[in-house]
């Protein structure tokens, strides 16, 4: 029995060594970032061109009390109290937010999109339930954050953040109240986890962002309100404890942000999204219109057939141009006829790719798939952009401006793409040739034009303008994303090439805006 206990001991020892030597903790690429360190505080950003607001002072912010008054001294003491005996959790919280609030809220958006991006399970009778924002906790929970939903949510949040920060910067310059770390030497000595700048602190930009973002997020993700409120509290405590703002800086900022959010929610209620789902009669009429042209209409390849994903999203009001431009200028001409030799040839090309997929192609397809349960292709481009923006040392307002340009491009790309998809109602390769098995799930909407290609074309175009040194890389990524849909069995080559071109045209509208918004 000695041998047995020796054996047991040895096994346990081996396991312990393994456990200790191979920590399984994984680290995300943005878990440990340095504090945001703007190369330029963009003090004049209050003059930049707004998206929806007519003026930066559309919403009044009262002048702050003088820093010599007892009320302000009390606020400084509150900051000192927060800095006193900080726990490691509180320090981690400061470090987390110090990397930048636009970044962190964008990551939170991506998290929520991925969490809610799951198609509803069918009813007993083979129909599918539609998530209902009036009853969001009932299965299927609202929302189903599919790519068009996500593109629109990212765009509204980013555009609202941008307008809110322009207003914030306007008041910062107007009132010019110095940050607590500039006013008080004790706070200055304890503000060690953030970069100190000369940017005035009233109203707090972190507070404006928390207010505007939380207010919109609650509408997009109504089941997450408790978590969103918690996040606002964490941002508030972190920003005050960092020495960057006092309670009055925060309160004024959060209130300004929430008011500006209401302008964007108002637009959202009237932008035609409420009519994007449609009815059975409308769905049937899409197929009828396609057949009338002598083409084979798209059918859902899911079992049971699922109603098409947001077929009237193409009528949603874009940010960068008007709806007539979608139809008259940006919507491309038709795909090859379903009966044509060209279509046969393109179907065969897809079939050849998926017959024996190479490991390299599986990698490409999965890297860009961004399907159910992910943050979607727009989220993927947000991640690409954010990780590059981190290296650029932007101010928060410039971060917001660049994310807004990107996300307005992505939403408008979704609108043009969806408009095109349902106008032509073109079948997927697998519908034309059922032997085509795909390397990732087939999205439940028509083929022409490729959503991935349209999103990627638009994103690469505007990002290449924002960071010209990376333009070639962005174009390569867009080509990869586009190609992944052909080799994965999801799209014909013409879906992808026309999608990329169309996306680039959308991105060009964002570039036009960028060149005249006062930030360059």
């Amino acid at each position: 029995m000695k041998k047995i206990s020796f054996l047991t001991f040895t096994l346990l020892a081996v396991l312990m060594v393994i456990q200790i030597s191979c920590s399984k903790n994984i680290e995300g690429r943005t878990d440990k970032l340095a504090a945001l360190s703007p190369a330029n505080i963009d003090l004049e950003a209050g003059k930049w061109k707004l998206v929806l607001l007519s003026r930066p002072d559309s919403f009044a912010v009262a002048a702050p009390a003088a820093i010599t008054l007892p009320g302000y001294i009390g606020e400084l003491n509150e900051v000192k109290g927060l800095q006193f005996n900080m726990t490691s959790v509180q320090k981690d919280n400061i470090r987390y937010w110090s990397a930048g609030s636009v970044l962190r809220w964008n990551e939170t958006m991506r998290d929520l999109v991925a969490k809610h991006n799951l198609p509803p399970y069918q009813n007993e009778d083979g129909t599918y339930p539609i998530p209902n924002s009036a009853n969001p906790f009932n299965y299927p929970q609202f929302p189903f954050s599919n790519p068009p939903f996500a593109a629109r949510a990212y765009a509204y949040v980013s555009a609202a953040q941008y307008d809110a920060l322009v207003a914030c910067w306007y008041y910062k310059k107007l009132y010019n109240r110095a940050a607590p770390y500039k006013v008080d030497s004790t706070i200055n000595a304890n503000s060690i986890m953030i970069n100190k700048t000369d940017l005035p602190s009233y109203p707090s930009e972190q507070a404006v962002l928390a207010g505007v973002t939380a207010e919109l997020m609650k509408a997009f993700f109504p089941t997450e309100i408790a978590e969103i409120n918690q996040k606002v509290d964490e941002a508030k405590t972190a920003t005050m404890a960092s020495g960057a703002c006092t309670r009055s800086d925060w309160t004024a900022g959060e209130s300004l942000g929430r008011q500006i959010a209401s302008v964007f929610s108002g637009r959202g209620r009237g932008d035609n999204t409420s009519k994007a789902v449609g009815t059975q009669v409308q769905w049937d009429s899409l197929a009828t219109a396609c057949s009338a042209k002598g083409e084979t209409p798209w059918i859902s390849l899911e079992i049971p057939h699922r109603n098409p994903m947001l077929p009237f999203f193409g009528n949603v009001k874009p940010f960068l141009f008007d709806s007539l431009t979608v139809v008259n200028v940006l919507r491309p001409g038709p795909p090859p006829s379903t009966g044509s030799d060209q279509m046969k040839k393109e179907t065969q090309e897809v079939a050849d790719y998926v017959k024996n997929p190479t490991r390299e192609n599986i990698d490409l397809v999965h890297f860009w798939a961004d399907g159910a349960g992910t943050y979607t292709p727009p989220g993927h481009w947000d991640a690409i952009a954010a990780e590059d923006f981190i290296l650029q040392n932007y101010s928060e307002v410039r971060w917001a401006r660049n994310m807004a340009l990107l996300n307005m491009s992505l939403m408008d790309a979704a609108i043009v793409c969806w408009n095109t998809k349902y106008f032509y109602f073109n079948p997927r390769p697998t519908q034309m040739d059922p032997s085509i098995k795909t390397i990732t799930g087939i999205p439940n909407f028509p083929s022409y034009i490729s959503g991935h290609s349209t999103f990627s074309g638009a994103a690469a175009e505007i990002l290449g303008h924002i960071i010209p040194s990376r333009a070639a890389d962005y174009n390569q990524m867009a080509s990869d994303a586009s190609l992944s849909r052909i080799v994965g069995g999801l799209h014909y080559r013409s879906d992808c090439s026309v999608g990329l071109e169309t996306g680039k045209k959308v991105g060009d509208y964002a570039i036009k805006r960028a060149m005249t918004d006062g930030a360059e």
Binding site: L7, T8, L11, I18, Q19, D31, R110, P120
Partner: protein, 316 residues
Amino acid sequence: MKKFCKKITRFACLAGFLMMLSKTSSAQTDQDAIMMSKHYFCGGAMYGYSGWKNYWEGTLKRENLNLGTGSTQMIGVMGNYGIKNNLNVLFNLPYMKTKASAGTLHGLKGIQDLSVWVKWMPYSRSVGKGTLSLFGLGGVSFPASDYTPDFLPLSIGLHSTNVSARVMADYELGKFFATASGTYTYRNNIKIDRNSYYTTELHLTNEVEMPDVASFNFRTGYRSGHLIAEAFVNNNTTLGGFDIRRNDMPFASNKMNATTVGAGFKYTLKNIHQLAFVGNGTYVVAGRNTGQATSVSAGVFYAFNVTGSNKKDSKK
């Protein structure tokens, strides 16, 4: 009893949607109490089929019309060598091919994981009217090809490198036996093709934390020189991991649990006693984030003395 090619297979990973190829099959020496004699090598090949129509999405049992029946076919080569009478080394290398009978998803195929076990029997004595033997086993398995683990349920494996430690006890009374074992498997983190994924939160990395696995196995039956017939039950529990969300696809770091029952036999020919046939079937009776698989497998094994002398064999 210790002479012949004893049962070897281990055709799959520890848990989950690959459970259909569970390691509970009858012909496998890393879970039975049979040792190859010194200098004997037993090698063979097995074919297995496993299929499931229902699976557990978390704790909810469901079917999926867009997958139909998920199936895996396996061809494996395996072997067992007696370094000493009480110390054996075993290996197994399977080739797998997956398919979904409905829907549009593409099946995958390829060489899965190479596993190597060392099996040691430090104790074997008469206790009461029977014989009690105690064993310690250590195993490693690692991916033998660059397959993707991120296309479940159609991936051929989970692509983790595993280190396992097992303790086992066997009691033999006449021609009847009972064997019980417990295993702890450490699994290293894996990398996937994507650089972002959602579990219970969003991860911005291509690395996936793989929870460890505990498993228990009990088998009992008839064991003689030419015939082994046994029934068994096996339980795998993933120590951590998360549930598949409603109507989501499975993921490599899910909490994949399964309780499997099965039966198997091994028959050694009386006139060509180097040659043995094995067959077995298993069924998953309870699970979580795993397919309710029914699996069958069959194989043929050949044993010989690598020093060229087959005297021991000839005595039966």
